[in-house]
């Protein structure tokens, strides 16, 4: 097990600077998620940890030791690739055995460890098959077994669930998480799916264009997003963002006025759909779309400030398209950002208009 540290790590591909300056600590035994949109440098960071890419600058430390120059094969890192990267010409057994081949593990012990790893991810019956004869979920488990069999000090998962169907994704989520609890190995998960990150990780590192936007627990990112980007990225359906101007305790957006405390000037207000509800008071709008989502119903409400999404609990559709409604929220659930710097203004709130 290891504690991971990035100190001013940068990565350039030719003239393109993919990661300008990364500072990050991942504690021993932690389950961390690198979350960000496609192309933001998540895999690149992961590959630097694995030793596949050499950092262009800065220091990478495992347990306080500089590992920049340490070769991939000496790092004892288990990695599950997005494509699983199983060796197509080998049986599942040989695939899982492969990492032990280079460790000079005695044959008996190696086979026992393969068996144990296969049992752990429940692929014991598949040991004699070829990867091409496995389903996506089974391949994913085999890749996991191969990463775990060498007892890695660090487990890296590069979008391991993105090739699975929805229900399998759900069950693998729980399985990977319980596997982590069982083994306690420091784990870094890369994903662009915020639900994956929030459900599995202890801590989320939200990235944007090679920079870390915010590091925190899932709750931190949800309740106190430090920037507009994080607020927009975390939460599903996405947060409603209303830009306008605050002056003398009143926030005005396209003619709608909200009482505001703690902020003035150009601000953007974030209201999560699940924090909005229909009521007697509030800002007015007309329902234009209804999307039942099982346990919740999503309404799209056309207001003076544009379309606003409202999420109501329960499976009962109590409203109709075209209905005039008023939308309200609790002030502590509103998030206020500086429009220009895109940063959260801590302690500022807006209130439902009377």
């Amino acid at each position: 097990m290891a504690k991971i540290e990035f100190r001013h790590v940068s990565k350039r591909f030719g003239a393109v600077e993919v990661i300008p300056d990364m500072d990050l600590v991942i504690e021993d035994g932690e389950f961390a998620a690198l979350l960000g949109p496609s192309g933001c440098g998540k895999s690149t960071s992961l590959f630097m940890l694995a030793g596949i890419y050499l950092p262009s600058g800065g220091e990478l430390l495992f347990d306080g030791h500089l590992v920049n120059e340490v070769e991939a094969r000496d790092r004892n890192v288990g990695i599950v690739f997005q494509s699983y990267a199983l060796y197509p010409h080998m049986s599942v057994r040989d695939n899982i055995l492969f990492p032990l081949r280079f460790k000079k593990t005695p044959r008996d012990e190696a086979l026992a460890r393969v068996k144990a790893a296969a049992d752990l991810v429940r692929v014991t019956e598949l040991l004699d098959r070829r990867p091409s004869e496995l389903s996506g979920g089974q391949q994913q488990r085999v890749a996991l077994a191969r990463a775990l069999v060498k007892k890695p000090q660090l487990l890296l998962l590069d979008e391991p669930l993105s090739n699975l169907d929805a229900s399998l994704r759900l069950s693998m989520r729980t399985e990977i998480k319980s596997l982590h609890e069982q083994l306690g190995v420091t784990t870094v998960l890369v994903t662009h799916d915020q639900i994956e990150a929030t459900t599995m990780a202890d801590r989320i590192i939200c990235m944007r264009a090679g920079r870390i936007e915010q590091v925190g627990t899932p709750d931190d990112l949800y309740l106190r997003p430090s920037s507009l980007f994080v607020a927009g990225f975390i939460g599903s359906p996405p947060i409603n963002l209303v830009a306008g101007k605050a002056e003398g305790g009143t926030f005005t957006a396209d003619g709608t006025r909200f009482p505001v405390v703690g902020a003035s000037g150009e601000i953007t207000v974030g209201l999560r759909p699940e924090h909005l509800r229909f009521g007697e008071a509030g800002f007015a709008g007309r329902i234009t779309q209804i999307e039942p989502m099982g346990r919740e119903i999503l309404y799209v409400v056309e207001t003076g400030m544009g379309a606003v999404r409202v999420l109501e609990q329960g499976s009962f559709v109590g409203h109709t398209i075209g209905e005039q409604v008023k939308v309200a929220f609790r002030p502590e659930n509103s998030l206020v950002f500086e429009t220009k710097r895109q940063k959260l203004i801590v302690g500022a709130h807006v209130r439902t208009p009377a």
Binding site: A50, G51, R73, I79, S83, A85, F98, R101, P131
Partner: protein, 366 residues
């Protein structure tokens, strides 16, 4: 919309009844005609390809010294042409797998019987005298009363060995160098990479014959003229560019991931190449190997120019001199040498057919 649909509805009953049966039989007839035309075309095209080889084999096993007789050829043709037509017909008419096999078996049985009756009595192995009699030229000539002037032939097995050596060594070198070079070209960025790739193709576009004089001078100065090694080097040089190009395609198709995965699994770059990447391009290596071997096996121009001593003769030179020396006396022996020369490439092609097919695909199979 509604107003347009109404008249169509009212017109429907007045239309004539559709005769599904006649439509079906018309389609059936058209399909049959197409098949017949197709098969006729295939027969017409395949005959000129099959016949020369067939004649070569028939002559090799039936011609006799000093006798210019073609009757047996016509008789054998009288068997072969109907047999080919029979096979195509069986294939065209069979409605399922069993009928197909039954048809093939019937045609084959008839063919064997007819062949045994019409051609069988003329068959003999005498033309393969060169296999056990190195001085066969004198023997053959003495049969027709000529006693002098025969070329001193080396043992045919010696020429056979030389050919195997040239083709084999060339194949080993080309496959090894091409794999390594192609892997590097496929995986690493370095200055001049794209121009190198382009030049690989350009090199292949030159007619190699144009270089024969400079090559001769070069070999002469290096001191490799009239050595097998010299020829092997020349052949390797000419075969390499295309082999590298083909192999690069195969390496390009191997995903990066499995290589990176091998590296993190504790393999060195070399171990990853050998244990993970190479097995993915196995088919490519086999295809390149087979083509290179056959190219070396049939090589004629370079061996003719660069090899002089008859102990360095390859099969193609042997064939050339046999034709030069005994053709007028005994074309049966010439054909027999041809058959002997043909057999190894034939066996190789048939054994490797499955892999050669993949060359055009150039993909990785799981």
């Amino acid at each position: 919309m509604v107003t347009q649909a109404a008249p169509a509805m009212t017109m429907a009953p007045s239309e004539p009844e559709i005769d599904w049966d006649s439509l079906a039989s018309r389609a059936r007839l058209a399909r049959r005609t197409r098949a017949v035309v197709l098969y006729a075309f295939l027969i017409a095209v395949s005959l000129p390809i099959i016949l020369p080889y067939f004649w070569l084999v028939t002559i090799a096993f039936s011609a006799r010294t000093g006798v210019a007789e073609t009757a047996v050829l016509w008789r054998s043709m009288a068997v072969v042409v109907p047999v080919i037509v029979g096979f195509w017909l069986a294939a065209a008419l069979a409605r399922n797998r069993r009928q197909l096999w039954f048809g093939f078996a019937a045609v084959a049985a008839v063919a064997v019987v007819a062949f045994a009756l019409l051609v069988g009595p003329d068959l003999h192995l005498g033309n393969f005298i060169f296999l056990w009699e190195p001085d066969f030229a004198s023997v053959v000539r003495s049969r027709v009363g000529e006693v002098k002037g025969a070329v001193q032939f080396p043992n045919v097995w010696h020429a056979f060995g030389n050919s195997i050596l040239i083709a084999g060594a060339q194949t080993a070198i080309v496959v090894t160098v091409a794999s390594l070079a192609a892997y590097y070209l496929s995986r690493f960025q370095f200055p001049g990479r794209s121009s190198m790739l382009r030049s690989l193709l350009v090199l292949h576009a030159f007619p190699v014959l144009t270089l024969i004089v400079p090559m001769f001078l070069m070999l002469y100065w290096i001191g490799l003229l009239d050595t097998l090694f010299g020829v092997i080097l020349v052949l390797v040089a000419f075969e390499l560019p295309f082999a590298i190009f083909i192999m690069k395609g195969f390496f390009d198709a191997v995903p990066w991931d499995i290589e990176m995965s091998a590296l993190t699994d504790g393999a060195s770059r070399r171990q990853a190449f050998v244990s993970v990447v190479l097995p993915q391009v196995r088919n490519g290596i086999l295809a390149v190997a087979v083509f290179t071997f056959i190219r070396g096996w049939e090589e004629y121009i370079f061996v003719f120019t660069f090899l002089i001593r008859n102990s360095n003769w390859t099969m193609s030179l042997y064939m050339y001199w046999v034709r030069d020396d005994v053709m007028g006396v005994d074309y049966g022996v010439v054909s027999a040498v041809g058959v002997f020369y043909l057999v190894p490439s034939l066996i190789l092609y048939m054994a490797a057919q499955r892999y050669l097919m993949q060359m055009s695909v150039g993909g990785v199979k799981g």
